[in-house]
Symmetry: C2
Subunit: 579 residues, 2 copies
């Protein structure tokens, strides 16, 4: 029987509880958002004693379903002040699922200065002192932990960013090669763990019973359908776009569409885009050789394999991974066109325990404030070093783009609900802008990736400038909330949007594991229920329609090259969830 | 005929307009809040092109009504994100009133880097370049301006705090001796002027026609009644509490009540209180002599005269003025018991153009964050110097206590709507806590000074710990909004709460000036109408009931010496405006 593990940092206890019936069919985001909704006072201080942080593998995570090693992390966000779910792909999640742990709830508040780790095995959960690992980079710390607990454990952790309660602090997980590189990055949940002085959750899957599957035949049938869909769709198949060039295949595509935010969202096209693209990364891997790898999986069992290992000129490892969002955040958004600089900045963000999207957005806002020139990679690295050192400037930048803008009186701060926008310009691509505006998460492309039909002609083909997209945006958000609950990577969406059998397979997998009888119609219903809880939490936390808006400057500043402003009527935004 | 002066910083024009009928009977706060409500998009960025800043003398300001030299300054606050009205007592306001200017509306946005001043005379308004005055302390700049424009002009200005768009930046006015010491301090409106690059508004009253008075006899009758009341009430009379010891007479009283917030609201009683009190200031004036003065007026025609000039040991001027809020903010709240240090910090805040309440609260939060020890005056001065220098740390502190808390991950931040609490502990004095919570202004004692009946037995006598005060709080807020519209100092409230003829006189003065036939019942109605506009603005800006709350820590941290928590039910707070 699956259990919930409740960890209390006041008295340092960790105890297993039965899963209440109401949570039985939930997983991933559905479960973290429901627990946060049920247990956390929406008005609490995110770093105070009454916030909680919840980890939940997806419904099928830990099984051999393809590309399903996601973990959702939830809580009240120190960045947005609202509910947050941020998910990552990591073997850690698979080990938790196989141990029969449906969720880990961390609550309470430390009564002294000590830092702690939690070591979970099939026999129980025990705390270990973690003071010796604080104040250090994660690239230094991870090998020490793997030496101590064995190479096969999974590690969830925070870096110095979380220790210092930076609102840009992710929860870091090990990748397939045990690097500190897989992130539930967005929303500052690392700071919540930091406020509770829980530095690590180490999971040992040795002897784990595995995920309970009620109907193995149905599960296998679904798994095969989904696998087949992933293996046949152009975007997700072996040797397809994601596998060959990683997510950064998007750089040239979005740039061509005039939607690649450049120099802190001043322009929509970057003259240096090609030099920072997935194609350029593949070229580096080829010409520099060494450890350079495209098509690297982030966890065992991923068949898309869109990660990468980027080499230095001498073939040694620069960093893994440079995602599309990352190469954009440190690249076009800062006016930087040098992959070595971008790689170095990425490594630093991983090392400190930060979200690369927010980190790049912060540097761009700092450039806007005059702390550096756009395009100055050397100075960008120095700014990141300030974050690592914890100087006053580092504390500012560590709090993210909105606080940096606030501190320096910058008006052009491209965020929603305090979270900086990712790599798609809302003025040029209206649906994703609507998603940013109304998402419960703040500006977040993964809340509803309408880029698929707006730019990639996947799951439909709609005009990027069309403003009448309330239904599209709504449906994408519902479907996404469901996928985020299954434990699958959101990238399965490309395949299942176009291949109905893949979608069927997804639902059959879940029915197989849970013994439910969901139909494809239930996907929308379940997604809607999750969103309703998240929206209720945010409303109680004080969010209103005024928070479901893009920043004002986008309404009066025209974005080149298309010279477009943000012109989606407020009424359209408000209509998204008013079916 | 009175006019409105509209100043546009985009094309640098200043033009007079007729006063619309709907504004005819408004003045001070009633007028600024109405214009902001009517003309400013509540969702605009406070530092962007669509915010405005409005100056309005009160209804009787510029007449010889006693203690009536207040000016209201309004706009969307960079500190709270809501509507703001902050008023000050200054001869500047009287000159504006006598020139027949009902309001000055500053709008638009600069198109280059230049800084400007506006020089208003009876013949019109002209811009002058002000670049040479930027980056300097106001104590250096004011004499230069008085040399340039004559000793009898009035000056409204911002300091380097406003130039740098610090959210703690007041609008500074000259006092009776032409010091830069009278502040519309709260809410960061200086930064709004800074965003528009308007550094000064210099007003020359030479040849001014004076305030139009429709019924001179009635006005004089009211003026005399109010004067008589002020001259006979123990708190406001010559040689009374305020006149003899200044507002800081409250230090020992509030300390005795266990409501003097100490060391960033950790305790309610300060062992060094007596050393920072009004009595101690009077003693300094007596023993050190020189320029030391208690009973100093802030503008011509004030008969309460609660200001002071505090001397250095050698009798030279340390600073004018140390108010109760100021001696508390830099004193008890920082654990500092040295008036010379408090005076120095006050001088620095005046020199940079900052609100002393927010500045002291910020230093206290910085102490909480470990940047200094509580009680370390030397380090407190160094922190203020950082603000002046504009270092990254200075920018953090310049943004106020909430941002400082945010940047350093501090949970104990005693603010509401982003504005730090003033000098009364809400856990120990419930009515003022309710006022902080529900005020449209953020934590603000001047929104409804329930301390009068809760502590001073003035206008009633209620138990400080009683939580059933919705009606009291409501009525005080309505009456206050009216008084803030008349141009009188709020301190007339002490007298008119206890002396009905004084209250009658106040209404008769207004009727005399305006030709209205208001009764005492209209006071509540008018106050209510003002609050309704302010609340509508805030609601449209995104404020909800969740913003009408005190910080969470006050609910679970007991305040010594009474060991009380914040226990006013949310329903009571929500009932205040739900008559």
């Amino acid at each position: 029987m699956a259990k919930i593990l409740r960890v209390n940092m006041t008295d340092r206890t960790a105890a297993y509880e039965d899963v209440p019936d109401k949570y039985k069919f939930l997983g991933g985001r559905g479960l973290t958002s429901t627990i946060v909704h049920d247990e956390v006072d929406p008005t609490c201080h995110p770093l105070g004693p009454n916030n909680k942080i919840v980890f939940a593998p997806g419904i099928v995570t830990g099984t051999n379903a393809p590309t399903s090693g996601r973990v959702s992390v939830g809580g009240k966000s120190p960045l947005t002040g609202g509910i947050k779910e941020s998910n990552a792909g990591t073997g850690w999640s698979q080990l938790v699922g196989r141990l029969g742990i449906k969720a880990i709830i961390v609550e309470g508040y430390p009564t002294d200065d000590g830092w702690w780790g939690l070591h979970i095995t099939k026999d129980g959960a025990e705390f270990f002192p973690a003071d010796e690992y604080t104040g250090k980079g994660l690239y230094e710390v991870y090998p020490l932990l793997f030496d101590k607990f064995g190479k096969k454990v999974g590690i969830a952790s925070i870096g110095i960013a979380g220790e210092r309660k930076y609102a840009n602090s992710g929860v870091c997980f090990n990748d397939i090669d045990n690097r500190p590189s897989r992130y539930s990055g967005r929303g500052g949940l690392g700071a919540v763990l930091g406020s509770k002085h829980l530095k690590f959750i180490v999971v040992d899957g040795e002897g784990a019973p595995g995920v309970e599957i009620v109907n193995k035949g149905l599960f296998d049938q679904g798994r095969k359908k989904l696998t087949q869909a992933l293996r046949s769709h152009d975007i997700t198949k072996p040797g397809g776009g994601l596998n060959s060039y990683g997510t950064a295949i998007l750089v040239n595509i979005i740039n061509e569409a005039g939607g690649l935010p450049t120099r802190n969202f001043r322009e929509g096209r970057f003259e240096g885009a090609a030099k920072t693209s997935g194609e350029a990364m593949a070229e580096l891997c080829k010409t520099r050789g060494g450890v350079g790898t495209m098509g690297h999986p982030c966890h065992p069992g991923c068949i898309i394999q869109c990660s990468n290992v980027i080499p230095n000129p001498d073939g040694s490892e620069l960093v893994s991974v440079i995602e599309y969002e990352t190469t954009w955040a440190f690249g076009a958004n800062c006016g930087i066109d040098d992959l070595d600089v971008i790689g170095k900045l990425t490594w630093m963000a991983n090392n400190y325990g930060m979200d690369t999207i927010e980190a790049g957005g912060t540097i761009a806002v700092a450039m806007e404030a005059g702390l550096a020139e756009f395009g100055d990679g050397k100075r960008a690295i120095e700014l990141m070093e300030e974050i690592g050192k914890g100087t006053p400037l580092g504390h500012i930048l560590g709090q993210g783009a909105a606080t940096t803008g606030k501190v320096f009186g910058v008006v052009r701060v491209p965020g929603v609900k305090g979270q900086n926008m990712p790599a798609y310009e809302p003025r040029a691509i209206k649906g994703i802008g609507m998603t940013y505006a109304i998402s419960t998460m703040g500006a977040d492309h993964t809340s509803g990736y309408t880029i698929a039909p707006e730019i990639l002609a996947c799951g439909g083909d709609v005009d990027q400038f069309d403003v009448d997209k309330a239904e599209l945006v709504r449906n994408f958000q519902y479907a996404t909330a469901f996928i985020d609950s299954t434990g699958h990577c959101l990238f399965i969406a490309f395949a299942i949007l176009d291949i109905p059998e893949g979608f069927e397979g997804l639902v059959e997998e879940c029915n197989g594991v849970l013994g439910t009888e969901w139909t494809m119609d239930d996907v929308g219903r379940i997604g809607k229920e999750i969103l309703a809880k998240e929206r209720a939490f945010n409303a109680a936390a004080g969010f209103t329609k005024a928070d479901d808006r893009l920043p004002e400057f986008m309404k009066y500043e025209k974005l080149p090259p298309h010279d477009v402003v943000w012109d989606v009527p407020d009424e359209t935004l408000d209509a998204v969830f008013e079916e």
